[in-house]
Amino acid sequence: MSGPSIHVERLVFAYPDGRQALFGVDFTIQRGERVALLGPNGAGKTTLVLHLNGILGSVAGGSGSGRIQIGGSGLHRQHLPEVRRKVGLVFQDPDDQLFMPTVRDDVAFGPANLGLRGADLEERVHEALVQVGMQDHADVAPHHLSYGQRRRVAVATVLAMRPEVLVLDEPSSNLDPASRRELADILSGLDVTLLMITHDLPYALQLCERSLLMDGGRIVADGATRDLLGDADLMSAHRLELPYGFDPLSVPGPER
């Protein structure tokens, strides 16, 4: 396979109630890149990522136009299962993502839908749980886990499908600092293309060398995370603020 991991061209979308969320989005993410998707509330970030695996948009029978290519091949109705395997989506609220009675069943849900059974399935589940350090909690019910643990299991449910692109919706929200750091360790060790929606700007700087800034349904800036965060005018124009005392120029980032 060839081509960039994600290629989006002139993507336009309106919800059935007529509210337009995307007004022509263009961007390309190369294989192995780690990209943060920044922007104020209501900018269309979540709507955009729901397009990437065909949940929303014309492929899903909705309204909208534009072109999306994942791994070089276009999004078509008949490849949806394949696209959903390639693009792993981790939702913001782990209680939405974890819907089976135990952690093991939940992680097995995706690969089982891909047709894995028996020992192969078991192995895949174990592998994904090891990646997030939750292998000792396989038989626990999700509501008995802490919030940070549930978030990690949510990541595992997607990793179990061996995605090429991992898309996370506010992975660090509601986490305590230790869980936030543990998740960062896990994410930075993964060998996938990463697209991460976040309001946590230091987190974006720590994990992603590149950022897309979205506002009003458009990409308004695309560049190195450090440059974007360092541009005070751009930041204030789009309601983004750095935490008190944080200087993006003074901390190490993921740049190689």
Partner: protein
């Protein structure tokens, strides 16, 4: 987070009955209840034998008797109904301790109490020895429609989430100084239930999206593929088959 909710009604000890596959226990419960219900109310010795079988089960399952007794509380409405029967039923009357009671009412009352209690205890044994997830897997093995199993499994998973929601909404209401009278309280609860419904509905949509993004196409993957061995069926059904023998004998003797 409510850690207190535990694993449903499961009493986590290890016993022969705990180890039986869920589908065996479900069938055993069903057969046992059928046997009990089809026994004529007048054959008292049969009910005594059923009770002995069930006590044996409780002991074998290492369930604390106090827990079983406490869970019997679900039967209360039926007990009330049964106690009223002798007073309201018609027909020939008998005197018990100076109170005139209907004869058929007394028998009917006994019928409801005995059968109800036996059935409830049997159900308690099942629920206390089987984890909710195993129960679901068992129902699935018994070829219950997969949609129904899926609905039940979502219920198991989201009961805590929804009750936590409800709890938070109550705290939020009370922290804003809401006291209200009895009627006012009802009104607030009704409003809360409406809001809860909307929240749960929206959560349902998000869960559906999450399922779709992991390749859900309308069929839930099987929870388990562990069938029950013949020996386990025999072991699990032994007590129920004994109950069937008793029921048949009771019928034959009653003829």
């Amino acid at each position: 987070m409510s850690g207190s909710a535990g694993d449903g009604l499961l009493v986590a000890v290890d016993s022969r009955i705990h180890r039986l596959p869920a589908q065996v226990k479900i069938v055993a419960l069903f057969v046992f209840v059928l046997a009990v219900v089809s026994t004529p109310a007048g054959v008292f010795w049969a009910f005594a034998l059923y009770a002995v079988l069930l006590v044996g089960c409780v002991v074998l399952a290492k369930l604390p008797p106090l827990v079983v007794v406490r869970r019997l509380a679900v039967e209360t409405p039926f007990v009330v109904f049964a106690l009223v029967l002798p007073f309201v039923a018609t027909g020939p009357r008998i005197d018990v301790l100076g109170v005139s009671l209907s004869e058929s009412g007394v028998l009917g009352s006994w019928n409801v109490l005995a059968k109800g209690t036996l059935g409830v205890v049997a159900a308690i044994v099942l629920s206390a020895t089987t984890a909710p997830r195993a129960l679901l897997a068992g129902l699935e093995r018994l070829r219950l429609p997969s949609t129904l199993v899926a609905i039940l499994s979502f219920m198991v998973r989201y009961l805590n989430v929804v009750s936590d929601d409800l709890h938070r909404m109550r705290i939020a209401r009370e922290s804003r100084g809401y006291t209200g009278g009895r009627a006012g309280h009802l009104k607030a609860v009704a409003g809360g239930v409406g809001a809860l419904f909307v929240r749960s509905f929206e959560r349902g949509e998000r869960v559906h999206l999450a399922m779709q993004s992991r390749g859900y196409t309308g069929r839930m993957p099987l929870l388990s593929d562990t069938g029950a061995a013949g020996v386990q069926w025999v072991e699990g059904l032994a007590i129920s088959l004994a109950a069937v023998v008793i029921a048949v004998t009771a019928r034959v003797v009653g003829l």
